[in-house]
Every structure is written in structure tokens, then in C-alpha cells.
Subunit: 245 residues, 2 copies
């Protein structure tokens, strides 16, 4: 028996998110199916981030246990032959048996992309949120300063989440503009449900001038989801990678 | 009666190319249908570049004549409401009645994108050609020097083209690498059928070390399609824009 870790990239457009569910095709479901076929035993993967429907990934992490004699690092090649073209393993390797992708300490990095121009660019439509009103990325950047560090992010927690504590630590937030594309890159030691998308939605309300940057502190202090901006659409979000410490 | 010019962006993935054809959905067909519905008269657009199936555009140009009283610059907004989400008008404006997008002198700029890494990135799969073997972009850049200027590009003309002359002028070719993405950007006063894709396929054979950069001169001199590399896949190609002189 060995434990194998996978770095998984996917286009989330056509999936009902990561986690296996009875109705609908999921990333985890496709991985389990293709791994079970490849290795001839029933495989169940465990994912680090159970991304929502429509969210993309460059580097989600999954592990599974197997009896196979195939070397861990070869599994990526064989598995990519079977997976649909919108899921691609970037790396496979053997891991210690006590490695768990959710319970081991890690820093996750997400990117939220906003296409900010007068008209949509069709080839960007699946991987960014099209926003027509002019965004001031300097104001957005100023607002992010309030988010860095350990805070109670209750205002940025989506409804339906069942968590003991809404305190989380954000390591860094960067806002950049490349031409018409505004990107928000955020790293932290774990995130609440929809937290990155609610932060993005709030930063958009600050970037468009509806609220000043200091509003971010008031929203944090309120500890109330109603104070923050809307949950920005899933298709703008990509899980870039996960660093284990 | 007035003539209206359009700058048209599209994701070519789901189209049988630009030009109207009896079997299959085309960009021109969708434009004609949506314009006719919008303006209440039968509209036939004329396109600058009749891109192939699967080729994308940021700035193709089309014109049509209409009796409408709607101001030319307002048509973009109204038309975008009706078009499918993978076609978006970037600009509409009234043009002189003698403007013709193909017969007026212009410089077209195309970009060919090659994702050059070990494994495919799913979110790039529709808008680049995935190429696994290592490409040396310096060798590719060196090879492009032979292409600049006025030459007989018969070796780079796809089969089935009916042209009087295969002499064309290339203004510039740039090869850049951004991380794993190698881009070829090429500007010229008109191109032969599949010319950019054959140039890309040839540059790949030079970038992977199969031929030296000087091979490009021999291929030009041969004036024979069999000497050049394969036609690179359509999905890597985007018409960036057209400059009228």
C-alpha cells in the first residue's frame, strides 16, 4: 500500500465543482473513475480544496492510497491519457502515509481575474468576470491592506458554511492591472466558504468608487455577511497552488 | 443608405470559420442573422479576413450597408445584446461608402500561441497549441529574419488556394516567451491561405532542433509547400487586428 499525491489542473466550466455528488459530473468523480480504471482497484481521492462549480485550478492537490506497483511519478502520464481534456495532472509522486491534503498545514493561493473594459473579449469569457464600469486598482490595493493578517472574516463567509471559527490568516493580497485585466492574488492559511469571491466582490465595490478603501475595516468589524459586497462569479476564480509547510 | 464598419472579436472554437456556408454555423452567418433581426432589413456583411474554422479574433473587420436611422456608433451595443456570447462587437462606426475591408490597403496582425511545457494546462487548451518538446525561442526568432520583407511565399501557401501571385510582404515577426507560452506575432499586407499556420508549423520544427534557422531561407527558395513544416492547429491562431492605411 502506498499513498500517491497529485497536483491537478482543471477548467471548471463544465463541472459541478470538485466533490463527488449524486447528480452531476465532478472533478473528484472523474479522478476516482479514471484512477480506478487505470489501476484496477477502487480508488477514492481526497482533495485539498473542494472548489465550487465553475471554479478553475492550476494546482489543486489530491491524494489516494493504492496497491499498484506502478511508480508514483509515472501515474500522471497514464492518468492523463484517460482523463477528459479539461482535467490534467501536473505531477504525481509518492507521499508519506500520514500526509493528508486538508489536515496538514498549508498556504493556498487563489487568483481572481476581472476583465475591465467596455466590451467583453469572447476568448476571456470563461476564465474571468467581465465588469464594464471603470475600476481603480489603486483604491482596491489600498483596501486590501486591512485584510492582511489574522482576523475574524465572518463578514466574508458565505451562507451555509458550518465552521467553528471564522478567524483566518491572510498572508498576502496583491492587486495588479495588466491592460484591461485586473487580477487579485490572495494567499492564506485556509479560507472560509466563498471567502475569496466575497472579497473580490467587495474590492469591486471599492474599485468602482461606491465605497472608500477604509470601508474594508468597517466590514471586517461588522462580522456580518450583509456588510460585504456580493459573491463574485465562480468563473473568475482559479486556485493557483497549495504550499505545504 | 450608409455603410457601417464593425470591429469583431470572437472565440472561433464552436464555428465553421468566418464565411457563410450551407452546413454549419459561421461568424458571418451569425452577424448577418442578428443584424437583420436588429435592423429589420436583410443585411449582408463583408469581412476583411475570412478566418478558418477554429481560428479566433480580437479585431476582425466587417462592413454592411443599411437604411437604418440608428447612429453607427450605437449599433455595437444593440448588436451585442443579440449575438451569442462568443462573438462581441468592439466598435461600430459609419464609414465612407467606398470603404471595402478587403480591397483597401491594410496591415493584418496575427498571433500564434504555443503552450510549451510538459503537461497541458486545461484553461489554455482552446486558445493555444500544446507542444510538449522543448522549443528554443532564440532559434525561432533567428529563423524569422528570413521572412521579413517582400518574398514569394509559395512554400507557405496551403493547398486549394486560388491566387494569381504568391508574393506577399511581411512587415514584422516577433517571437517571445512568457513563462511556458511561446507567441509568434506577425504583421503583413495580406497573407496566403494558411500562411501564418504554416509559418508557425515551420518555426516549431526549427525551435525543436529538427532544422537550423537557416533552413527558412532554403524553404523560401524552394517555392514548394512540401519543404515547409506542417500547418499548425487552428486553435493557436488569433487575428489581433487590422490597420487600414
Amino acid at each position: 500500500m502506498k499513498r500517491v499525491g497529485l497536483i491537478v489542473a482543471y477548467d471548471g466550466t463544465n463541472y459541478c465543482g470538485w466533490q463527488v455528488q449524486p447528480n452531476g459530473i465532478t472533478i473528484q468523480g472523474e479522478l476516482n473513475r479514471c484512477l480506478s480504471e487505470l489501476l484496477g482497484e477502487e480508488i477514492e481521492t481526497i482533495g485539498a480544496s473542494r472548489t465550487d462549480a465553475g471554479v478553475h485550478a492550476m494546482g489543486n492537490v489530491a491524494v489516494f492510497d493504492t496497491e499498484t506497483r506502478m511508480p508514483g511519478e509515472k501515474i500522471s502520464y497514464a492518468l492523463n491519457q484517460r482523463l477528459p481534456e479539461d482535467i490534467r495532472i501536473q505531477l504525481s509522486e509518492e507521499m508519506p502515509m500520514d500526509f493528508h491534503p486538508r489536515y496538514c498545514d498549508s498556504v493556498k493561493t487563489y487568483e481572481y481575474r476581472i476583465l475591465n473594459r467596455r466590451f467583453q473579449i469572447p476568448t476571456e469569457r470563461l476564465y474571468s468576470y467581465f465588469y464594464h464600469y471603470k475600476l481603480d486598482e489603486k483604491k482596491m490595493r489600498e483596501a486590501t491592506s486591512y485584510l492582511i493578517g489574522r482576523h475574524d472574516f465572518a463578514s466574508f463567509c458565505g451562507a451555509g458554511a458550518q465552521v467553528k471559527s471564522t478567524v483566518r490568516t491572510i498572508r498576502s493580497v496583491e492587486v495588479e492591472r495588466f491592460g484591461d485585466m485586473v487580477t487579485i492574488r490572495i494567499s492564506g492559511e485556509g479560507f472560509l466558504y466563498n471567502m475569496v469571491r466575497i472579497i473580490a466582490g467587495t474590492l469591486i465595490e471599492i474599485g468602482n468608487g461606491q465605497y472608500p478603501p477604509e470601508r474594508m475595516q468597517e466590514i471586517l468589524d461588522a462580522r456580518d455577511r450583509e456588510w460585504a459586497g456580493p459573491t463574485a462569479p465562480a468563473k473568475g476564480l482559479t486556485l493557483l497552488g497549495i504550499q505545504y509547510e
